[in-house]
Each structure stands twice: as structure tokens, then as C-alpha cells.
């Protein structure tokens, strides 16, 4: 292994700032995906439990597609498809966000659905006889209990998502992975990968701590 960065503080610092910029893009993909896919997943979960077959069936098909094909393929497909169906130019970054959002919404939808369905019927019945409306029941009685129950599976998805963001590099979005790849090929040294590994570890370490914190916050009842 040839050492080209770790023995040259100036070069290392330059690499590091480049990689940090990439990590910033990685974080943007991460947060934007969560911000859109969590609410969308909740809507899909509701639709998936709809009494109407016309709502239910297309949604199960959507979930099936999202969970049964490679995310990498979905990203590339959407990246090439969007310019052909949309009348305006779509930035590659937003094409990737779109792909991540619809993919993760499908996974979240299934998690939320099983969470909602695990709440005993007695909770709905108690709310109904107390006069809560359907909306109040969901918002104030069911949802808080669902949040606690889905915390662990959602945390798993969050950690997977941080690693999945690297797939953005398949369409040359300049995320942490893309920067690392470029630096490795231009320097013929694998040190940039080492830096990338460290940065991913830091990101996931932080995410894990946040999930633990949320878990503690929810542990005031059983």
C-alpha cells in the first residue's frame, strides 16, 4: 500500500475537506429522504389498509415492486426515465432523492402498517365510546403507541439508509462515495476509502445514538 495522504498533513487536510463536502451531500440525501418518505409511508400504510380494493391493490403492487427490485436499478431507471416524461429538466440530485423517497416509503409503509395493526381493537373501542372522532383517535390514541412500537424497525431502516445513500454515486451525484472513488482513482491510493469508512462510521454512530435517545424518551410506559 502506497501512502500518499497520511504522511502529508496538507494533502490529507485537502482530501478531508473534499470528503466532508461529499459527506454533506450524503447527509442531504439522508435527511431529505427521511423527511419525505416517513409521511408518504404513513399515507401508503393507510391506503394499504383501505377498505377500497381500488386503493389497496395498486399500493400493494407498488410496495411489491419497490421491495423486490434492486434500489440501484430503481435509481438508474428513474434517472433516465424522468427527463423523458417530464417537460422540465430535473437535477440528478432530485432524481436520486425521488428514487430514495419512493423506495423507502414502501418499506416504512409496511412497518407502519404492522405497527398500526398491532394496536388492540380495545383502544379504538374505548376511544369510540368516549366520543373521540376517527381523526382524534388516530392522532392522539393510536399514533403515539404506534411510534413506540415501530421505533426499532425504523431505526434499522435509518441505518440502512445511510449506507444506501452511496448508491447515489451510480448516477454521479457527488456524495461521499463518489468523492472517495474519484480520489482513489486519481491518486492510486486506497487511503480515501479509509477516510470514507471513518466518516460513514461517524454518521451511523451518531444516528444510532439518536435512535437510542428516542427509545429512552419512549420508555416512560410499557
Amino acid at each position: 500500500m502506497t501512502i500518499k495522504f497520511f504522511n502529508d498533513p496538507e494533502r490529507l487536510w485537502k482530501l478531508f475537506t473534499l470528503m466532508l463536502d461529499g459527506a454533506g451531500v450524503t447527509l442531504s440525501i439522508f435527511f431529505l429522504t427521511l423527511v419525505f418518505s416517513v409521511p408518504l409511508g404513513m399515507l401508503v400504510a393507510q391506503g394499504r389498509m383501505s377498505r377500497r380494493r381500488l386503493v389497496r391493490t395498486p399500493l400493494s403492487f407498488y410496495i411489491y415492486i419497490m421491495r423486490s427490485t434492486p434500489l440501484m436499478l430503481q435509481i438508474m431507471f428513474i434517472y433516465f426515465l424522468l427527463p423523458q416524461v417530464l417537460p422540465f429538466r430535473v437535477d440528478r440530485f432530485w432524481a436520486v432523492i425521488f428514487a430514495f423517497v419512493i423506495n423507502y416509503a414502501a418499506y416504512f409503509a409496511e412497518i407502519f402498517r404492522s405497527g398500526i395493526q398491532s394496536i388492540p381493537a380495545g383502544q379504538y373501542e374505548a376511544a369510540k365510546v368516549l366520543g373521540y372522532t376517527g381523526g382524534q383517535t388516530f392522532l392522539h390514541i393510536i399514533l403515539p403507541q404506534v411510534v413506540k412500537r415501530v421505533l426499532l424497525p425504523v431505526a434499522n431502516e435509518v441505518i440502512t439508509l445511510i449506507k444506501d445513500t452511496a448508491l447515489a454515486s451510480t448516477v454521479a451525484v457527488v456524495d461521499l462515495m463518489t468523492v472517495a472513488k474519484k480520489q482513489v482513482s486519481s491518486s492510486s491510493s486506497i487511503e480515501p476509502y479509509v477516510v470514507a469508512i471513518v466518516l460513514y462510521l461517524v454518521l451511523n454512530g451518531a444516528a444510532e445514538q439518536l435512535c437510542k435517545l428516542a427509545e429512552r424518551k419512549m420508555s416512560y410506559y410499557r
Binding site: Q123, V129, L130, Q136, Q145, R222
Partner: protein, 247 residues
């Protein structure tokens, strides 16, 4: 006050209620007894709008919940149904407290959210009722920290916080051991003394005998016999006698 006439209800073609007539007067305590599967819970659930009837008429305080005329069943409009909901309280066998809320929140959330009471007023009423069920010191606990009997007493207080005109109980003590059963029955006795209108499905024959003004014996979706406890517990009807004798 509560008047149900000719209630029919079936599940998948199987008749569970096959023509029930039931009246409850204001201030009256009615005990509903009968073997398992006779349709007691189903009847309560129809009255509480947790199930819809197949046919029959239910009137509460001159407000019609549903009516059947010329073989055609019509339910009241949603606003009326809601008004009736607010007049009826229900205590379940499995308590169904909200686990993510403290005892105090369980008692004040519906009054504040549903009846739009100010917090101070809801809290004051909740404290009164907690004192009445003997749980003043548990206001800040969560349901999982309470015994079954304590949870059921909180559930009774929660129902009372809505100031219902009639309170229905579906086997409120059958998940409890004898000692805890007594604490819950004690609260119900107290309510009966205060002339709270109650309709109680129960297997506690002692309670039915001592507390109820009237006992209704149901079997196979029909009311076999009803009357004051002395009559039911010394019945000439062989089915009634066999049931109460065996209990």
C-alpha cells in the same frame, strides 16, 4: 330512559340477538346475566354503537339511535349518534386504558378534547372521581404500574369523567382475582347508592342479588326472564333456576 325494542343481530347469518326488549329506567341498576355466548356483550355493544343492529329500535332519552319501521332499519344522522355516544359510558372487561397516558391524562383527555372542557375544570373533576374510586395517590402513575383492580377503577373514573347518563359494564371483574373483584364491586355499589343508572353484564351473582334493582336473564339471544332479584333467584322457570343455581 334507555329503551331497546325487538333487537336482532347476527354474525354471518347466525342469530346472536333474536328479538331483545330491554328498558332501563333513570337511576335503575340492571344486571344482565346469562351463560357464555348468550349475546350479553353483543347487546351492550349494539347499545354503545360498537356494533350495528340488523333490526330493532333503540331510544335513549327520547333521542332515537336507530329505528325499524316496515322492516326498514334507519340509523340517526352522525351528529345525533355522537350526542347519544356522549350520554353513554362503557367499562370493558379488559379496562382498555390508554397506556401512553398517565392516570390523570386518561381521565382528562376526552373531557378536554371531546367535550372541550378547560383543563382546570377537567382536572378538578378527575381529582374528585379519583378520590371516589380511592386512587387519589395514583394520578401520575401509568396504567402498567397499577394492579388490574386499580386499572378497572381508573377505567370507571374515566367513563364517569364524561358525565354519562347511563354507564354500561361488560363483565368488569371477570379478569380479576376475588380480592381485586371486591374493590371494583365496592366502587360500583357506591355508584348504585348514588342512583347512577347502570347496565351491568356480570357473572357475580352476589352483586346481581344485592345491588341490582332488576335482573335480566338472557339465553340464546333471547330474554328468558326478568324481574327483581328475589324473583330471579327464586325463579319458577327451570332454565333460570338451573343457571342461577349453578352459579
Amino acid at each position: 330512559m334507555l329503551c331497546a325494542t325487538d333487537i336482532h343481530k347476527g354474525f354471518d347469518g347466525l342469530g346472536v340477538l333474536r328479538g331483545i326488549d330491554l328498558n332501563v329506567e333513570k337511576g335503575e341498576v340492571v344486571a344482565l346475566i346469562g351463560p357464555s355466548g348468550s349475546g350479553k356483550s353483543t347487546l351492550l355493544r349494539c347499545l354503545n354503537q360498537l356494533e350495528t343492529v340488523d333490526s330493532g329500535t333503540i331510544v335513549l332519552d327520547d333521542i332515537t339511535l336507530c329505528r325499524t319501521r316496515g322492516g326498514k332499519l334507519t340509523y340517526a344522522d352522525p351528529a345525533t349518534l355522537r350526542r347519544i355516544t356522549l350520554k353513554m359510558g362503557m367499562v370493558f372487561q379488559s379496562y382498555n386504558l390508554f397506556p401512553h397516558m398517565s392516570v390523570m391524562q386518561n381521565l382528562t383527555d376526552a373531557p378536554m378534547r371531546v367535550r372541550r372542557l378547560p383543563r382546570a375544570q377537567a382536572t378538578e373533576r378527575a381529582r374528585e372521581l379519583l378520590a371516589k374510586v380511592g386512587l387519589s395517590d395514583k394520578a401520575d402513575q401509568y396504567p402498567y404500574q397499577l394492579s388490574g383492580g386499580q386499572q378497572q377503577r381508573v377505567a370507571i373514573a374515566r367513563a364517569l369523567c364524561m358525565d354519562p347518563e347511563i354507564l354500561c359494564f361488560d363483565e368488569p371483574t371477570s379478569a380479576l382475582d376475588p380480592e381485586l373483584t371486591q374493590e371494583v364491586l365496592g366502587v360500583m355499589r357506591e355508584l348504585a347508592r348514588e342512583r347512577m343508572t347502570m347496565l351491568v353484564v356480570t357473572h357475580e351473582m352476589g352483586f346481581a342479588r344485592d345491588v341490582a334493582d332488576r335482573v335480566v336473564f338472557m339465553e340464546d339471544g333471547l330474554i328468558v326472564e326478568e324481574g327483581p332479584p328475589e324473583q330471579i333467584f327464586h325463579s319458577d322457570n327451570p332454565r333460570t333456576r338451573q343457571f342461577v343455581g349453578g352459579n
